[in-house]
């Protein structure tokens, strides 16, 4: 698993890997929002946690089709499948790389971009914390979607159609944690729900991802 992790991380960070792309996309969406809704401070600071969450979700979505598509095209995926590691481990490694290259940078960048949206500084911790807790679920669910569409040429749009409905519960609880954090309300319940969804997804979905990969590689 470790060599696979190192290989994928290296591929993602070297030229053409698109490492910073998700982050730049995140920035651009955040910059576009005030153009859309107007520059009034109170509106922006009210919708900031939600916008940050939706933008992070879209940025995570953007890089999903790279998870398996390139490996599938040049046949690496078949080699990996015949290697003496279970496909479940491969699924976990791929999700982890996706999270390290998108979820983690997005989490770190979110409070800084929150400044652009007049996010109340009291909410920085809640926004970053909810993203830290929620983005692993986004990566794992997205890996499952990427595995489903690996055999489909130009499957990017299909992938979004499949994955976005699956993102709904994570988004609801994640944005709720962020919103309550900004408003300085009690946030234990949504926080626990978000943690539960992430834990459940991380524990169970790699099995579904591996099963789907086996079906696709048959």
């Amino acid at each position: 698993m470790i060599p696979l992790l190192r290989r994928d991380l290296m591929l993602a960070t070297r030229a053409g890997g698109g490492f910073g792309l998700a982050l730049v996309f995140f920035l651009i969406v955040i910059v576009l929002v005030p153009f859309g809704v107007g520059p009034e401070t109170d509106i922006l600071s009210r919708i900031a946690p939600g916008i940050l969450w939706v933008a992070a979700l879209l940025a995570a979505l953007l890089s999903l089709d790279r998870i398996f598509a390139l490996d599938h095209e040049d046949g690496t995926l078949t080699l990996i499948a015949t290697a003496p590691v279970p496909l479940e481990t491969v699924a976990v490694a791929k999700s982890l790389v996706h999270w390290i290259t998108t979820g983690l940078p997005l989490t770190i960048a979110a409070p800084f971009l929150g400044v652009l949206l007049q996010l109340d500084p009291a909410g920085f911790a809640a926004v970053a914390g909810s993203l830290l807790l929620g983005t692993p679920a986004l990566s794992v669910i997205g890996t499952f979607g990427a595995a489903l569409t690996v055999g489909v040429r130009r499957g990017g749009l299909l992938l979004s159609l499949l994955v976005l409905p699956l993102y709904v519960p994570t988004l609801i609880f994640g944005a709720e944690v962020a919103r309550r954090g900004v408003a300085e309300l009690e946030l234990t319940t949504p926080l626990l729900m978000l943690a539960g969804i992430t834990a459940g997804a991380v524990a169970l979905l790699p099995f579904a991802t591996a099963a789907v990969l086996r079906m696709n590689l048959r």
Binding site: L148, P169, I172, T189, M193
Partner: protein, 238 residues
């Protein structure tokens, strides 16, 4: 029981059943809708708009049950590899989408005079919209993959995982927003049901919708089996 899932046997028993199913659903729907629309009293507060319940409730019920049926058919396909089962799941999806759309549309038409808005981000409405998206994704995946067995496998897994997330979403939206929608019109707990005058024609309408759903799914499954056979013949002819 499994022998009826053999494609040839399936074609055999569905052929005579289909006209009866369509006939029975037509009878039930005619009785339920005419009784409901013309021979029930007008509601004290809602006026005649209440009568949309005879379309709204059965279609909403079938929208969810169609997904449950797809889930079971997917499980049967994954476990027992009955091709008819996978095709039945495929056949049920467009019917389920139609039911979801009818439920959403009738709800919007009723909501405008009653709630003063066609749409509200109410938990029930929102979860139906999400269910609609799940149906679309499921159908898109079927359409995107060429090999029929791989398509059946992948859509089955999507259906199972999707069910879990649809269920989660259903309760997540409850948490997210307070509801405008009234509670269930029907339940096994008799106390909570709508009044008997509305209840009896509603049962006919629901029965009609259930039988109509089964008839449509059988018909569409037969079409899928024929399509599969034509494909096989064409491949043999080269």
């Amino acid at each position: 029981m499994w022998e009826y899932a053999n494609p040839k046997r399936f074609m055999g028993w569905t052929a005579p059943v289909l006209p009866w199913a369509f006939g029975l659903s037509a009878v039930c729907l005619t009785i339920g809708l005419i009784w409901g629309f013309f021979f029930t009293p007008v509601d004290f507060r809602q006026g005649s708009t209440v009568k949309i319940i005879y379309l709204h409730v059965p279609s909403a019920l079938m929208a969810i049950n169609a997904w449950v049926m797809m889930l079971m058919a997917s499980l049967i396909w994954l476990v027992r590899r009955h091709h008819v089962s996978a095709l039945a799941a495929k056949a049920a999806a467009p019917v389920g989408v139609a039911m979801t759309l009818i439920a959403l549309a009738t709800g919007a038409i009723w909501g405008q005079p009653m709630w003063g808005t066609y749409w509200a981000w109410d938990p029930r409405l929102t979860s139906f919209l999400i269910l609609f998206l799940f149906y679309l994704g499921y159908m898109a995946l079927w359409a995107a993959i060429e090999d029929p067995d791989t398509a059946a496998d992948l859509t089955s897994v999507l259906c199972i995982v999707g069910s879990v997330f649809a269920f989660l979403s259903r309760y997540a939206v409850n948490f997210w927003n307070q509801g405008l929608h009234q509670g269930a019109s029907l339940s096994l707990d008799k106390e909570k049901n709508v009044a008997d005058v509305f209840y009896q024609p509603l049962l006919f309408a629901i029965g009609g919708f259930v039988i109509l759903f089964f008839a449509l799914v059988l018909l569409r499954t037969r079409t899928e089996i024929r399509k599969r056979r034509i494909g096989a013949l064409q491949r043999r002819e080269g």
